[in-house]
Amino acid sequence: MKNSPYIPATNSDQVEMLKTIGVNSFKDLLTDVPKSHLFPELKLQEMLSEPELVDYFNHLSKKNITFKKKTSFLGGGAYNHYIPSTVKAMIQRGEFLTSYTPYQPEASQGTLQVGFEFQSMITQLFEMDVCNAGMYDGPTALAEAALMACRIKKNKKILIHNSVSKKLLEVLNSYSKWQDVEIINFEDINSMNEDDYSCLLVQSPSQNGEIIDVENLSNLIHKKNGLLIQHTYPISLGLIKPPGQLNVDIATGEGQSIGVPLSFGGPYIGLLTCKKEFIRQLPGRIIGQTVDKKGKTSYALTLQTREQHIRRENATSNICTSTQLIGLMVSVYLATIGPEGLKQISETCFHRAHYFASEINKIDGFKLISNNFFNEFVIEADKNINEINNYLLSNNIESGLNISSGKKNLIMFAVTEMNNPKDIDETLSLLRRINDQ
């Protein structure tokens, strides 16, 4: 018997196949491998049977505090939103899960039509002209958008608004540092000349959760002949004006919040949308509608001459995935919640966050810093943030993100529809008590 439960060949199959090939043993097939390095020792962890695997990984999963938590206010780019049963049911279908990239459209209409639905719903959500079938994650989508602007404007200077988070910048930096791209902080637009910069990057809601006047910024940068790129949080678009109404040229987002589990940081999906005149510079996969020989409506990968398998070193990017399975989750999610559901979730996030923030602001030793925020806000505290967070955690509450800098004790709370009013009130009463600790 074999060790692997996933290999069907029996010993007699193997003997028969080797005989057909015309060799006596498997080793005879490996004549090209240097003898001195053939069959090295392989010392891996011991093999586990299926029930042992379940036990072992159960044990590991319980080493994460997550398992016991009552509620969590952690955000900073990934958010705890409800994932409907419909999403979980659909991604378990092997016909989606175990299919290959749809290079053979006749055998992949399911994947392709889902991808077309994804592009349709994301363009509607953003109100942008076009979008691709998906990028790795939000930060890489933004980095690719910035490189796209450099190609469109033939100018490698990028302006960064102070709303953009450090993580986003770090990813942009590793995507651009060997391509002679210059990244400059946005300060005074009036001192700029026309064509000085390819684009301005803005994050709204900002890294501190604030809603930025993107329209004003896009008017300013357009006067200097640059493009405006907005990175956004899709759930906020149930309440806040979408990029398409703000004269944004390229808009990106982290798709995690719309139907994707936190899963310790991935897999997520990057959303990348733009005005239609920039489509030839859009990286990644794009799905288009067409007809078959009999005139039947059907779908296929299209505009592939932008991509690496054809253009090689002149491609728009090296990416060759669309993170399709996560695109399926996003599509089922948006179709499940619909326009009313999105509005309701978005408003619930907003109102619960504002209630929580204003109540914290009333407690001695806590001060609300953020203005005009969506569902994430910054609090300055007298006490050390680690102390506060450990105290809440000892009561099974995962607190916000510690973003203290220098002598300032800062904490950023994110509130979603998963933080119910009872949990919020309980957290508030703990925070009120913290001064007595």
């Binding site: 060790n3 692997s4 439960p5 996933y6 290999i7 196949m17 491998v33 069959f39 090295p40 392989l42 010392k43 891996l44 962890q45 093999m47 379940v54 990984f57 999963s61 080493k63 997550t66 398992f67 780019g77 990934a78 092997g94 016909e95 899960l97 175990t98 299919s99 290959y100 990239t101 749809p102 006749e106 055998a107 209409q109 994947t111 039509q113 991808g115 592009q119 349709s120 719903m121 509607q124 959500l125 993580k167 770090e170 806040i240 004006k241 899963s263 288009g288 067409t290 078959d292 059907s298 690496q308 054809i310 090689r312 070193e313 995935t321 179709a335 499940t336 619909g338 559901g341 119910n420």
Partner: protein
């Protein structure tokens, strides 16, 4: 199979339908932002839950998938994706872990990452691992950035040339361009081996890195590998191996033993994580110990029985928002633990035997690119069939009609009418035999009744598509009629 086009969700949408009940706001409402920030309306589908489930379920039935069909798809390693991997990835302690939690609260996740780093190091013989890259192409890019930072660290900024064989995957030159390297093409022989004389001519003091695929994209082990890595090292360059074909090497040979400095591995190929119709994958990068300081964030280490994620001192930086595609890493680690050293060795052994068996059985029907024994895949050419007007593409479409996914076609570019076949270890002899019979039937049909091939497919939900129309007049999202 469903024969009519399923209407898009927006065409099914009716105002007043919904699929889910959501919680009420439940707190006192606050003042909304200024009106100029507020959205007035959103257009998304409104459908009932049953219609939604039926729609997506019916769509799924239009697909080929590993769970339903054999994919002899070269360079893609379409092996079985075990169900236990999926089950474990949904354990709540993993799926609801937040990536911004502090290390001490996510010891379980970090232990998974630490152990997987060690297993991949042992498998490839390259001792330092970062699991950050989100796909093979990103792993490749990370590998090249590591080479660049290494040369910069040693004061060799002039090293800006990537040597790339003409048989390489398209991502290789595309990644090199992103890393600001100038790609110089190295010739390969008709069997896809690196042309040593051409390499000697083109290697120079400016060589940053040689990118090679091992086994090669023709499915053959590079017989001169030790000489090749020595030539590049003698010029101060590094050797990067594209690990796309790692399924041929488990327990057979280690990259680190062969003079390779950097490699990536596609977990969705060798380590059985699902392709998902085109992602998400994961592409960890493995390097020699002396390159560890350049790895991307995060690297996980163990100190006093706790696991810590940290940024190596001369890091190439951050490649994504958080710590990598954890859900995929978890599936791959589950797979490795379900096999151990013994099971892992069987994978390559059976993958190689299956590929050679197909090669042997088909060699009198299709032209072989090489008469050597292949590794885990074999590249055939449809050049004989082309004399009857049958192209690789036509053969692919006829295979679809018979229930087999098409092989990889027209790649590598150096082979005329290439059909690249990779059976993997997952398929039974019976399935492989029926595929072989089908390939022989198609070859015979190509001289007797070529129209039957050029008309294919006729048994699938759609026939051949007008792909030119899709590109000429792009319709990329739903529009109201």
């Amino acid at each position: 199979m469903i024969n009519k086009h399923l209407p898009l969700l927006m065409d099914q949408s009716q105002k007043g339908r919904k699929s889910i009940n959501l919680p009420e706001i439940g707190v006192e409402k606050s003042t909304l932002p200024n009106k100029k920030f507020l959205r007035e309306s959103i257009q998304l589908p409104e459908v009932s839950q049953l219609d939604l489930i039926r729609y997506f379920t019916n769509l799924s039935s239009l697909n080929f998938s590993i769970d339903t069909n054999f994919y002899p798809l070269g360079s893609c390693t379409m092996k079985y994706n075990p169900k236990i991997n999926e089950q474990i990835s949904t354990f709540e302690g993993f799926s609801s872990s937040h990536p911004n939690q502090t290390d001490e609260n996510v010891q379980g996740c970090l232990e998974v990452m630490y152990n997987l780093q060690n297993e991949l190091a042992e498998i490839t013989g390259l001792k330092s691992v970062s699991l950050a890259p989100l796909a093979g192409a990103q792993g490749e890019y990370a590998g090249l950035l590591i080479a660049r930072e290494y040369h910069k660290f040693n004061g060799n900024n002039h090293k800006n040339i990537a040597l790339i064989p003409d048989s390489a995957h398209g991502t290789n030159p595309a990644s090199a361009a992103m890393a600001g390297l100038n790609a110089v093409t190295i010739k390969t022989t008709s069997e896809g081996d690196i042309d040593i004389e051409d390499l000697k001519e083109k290697v120079s003091k400016d060589t940053a890195v040689l990118m090679l695929t091992l086994p090669s994209t023709l499915g053959l082990f590079e017989p001169n590998i030790l000489e090749i890595t020595k030539i590049v090292h003698d010029h101060g360059g590094l050797v990067y191996a594209d690990g796309a074909n790692l399924n041929a090497l488990l327990g057979i040979a280690k990259f680190g033993d062969l003079g390779i400095d950097i490699c990536h591995s596609n977990l969705h190929k060798t380590f059985s994580t699902p392709h998902g119709g085109g992602g998400p994958g994961a592409g960890p990068v493995m390097v020699t110990k002396n390159l560890e300081r350049f790895l991307p964030y995060p690297h996980v280490k163990k100190e006093n029985e706790s696991f810590i994620s940290y940024t190596p001192e001369n890091t190439i930086g951050r490649l994504n928002g958080f710590l990598g595609s954890f859900g995929i890493l978890l599936r791959a680690y589950t797979y490795i633990r379900s096999l151990g050293s013994g099971g892992l060795k069987e994978i390559s052994e059976n993958a190689i035997i299956n590929a050679n068996y197909i090669q042997e059985k088909l060699k009198s029907h299709y032209k072989l690119t090489s008469t050597r024994y292949c590794m885990h895949e074999t590249v055939l050419s449809a050049s004989r069939q082309k004399e009857n007007g049958i192209k690789a593409l036509d053969i692919a479409k006829k295979l679809l009609d018979e229930g087999f996914h098409a092989p990889t076609m027209y790649f590598p570019l150096i082979v005329d009418e290439a059909l690249m076949i990779e059976p993997t270890e997952s398929e039974s002899k019976e399935t492989i035999d029926s595929f072989i019979d089908c390939m022989i039937m198609i070859s015979e049909l190509s001289s007797k009744n070529p129209e039957e091939i050029t008309n294919a497919p006729i048994n699938l939900p759609v026939q051949r598509l007008d792909e030119a129309l899709a590109a000429r007049n792009p319709i990329l999202s739903w529009k109201k009629d």
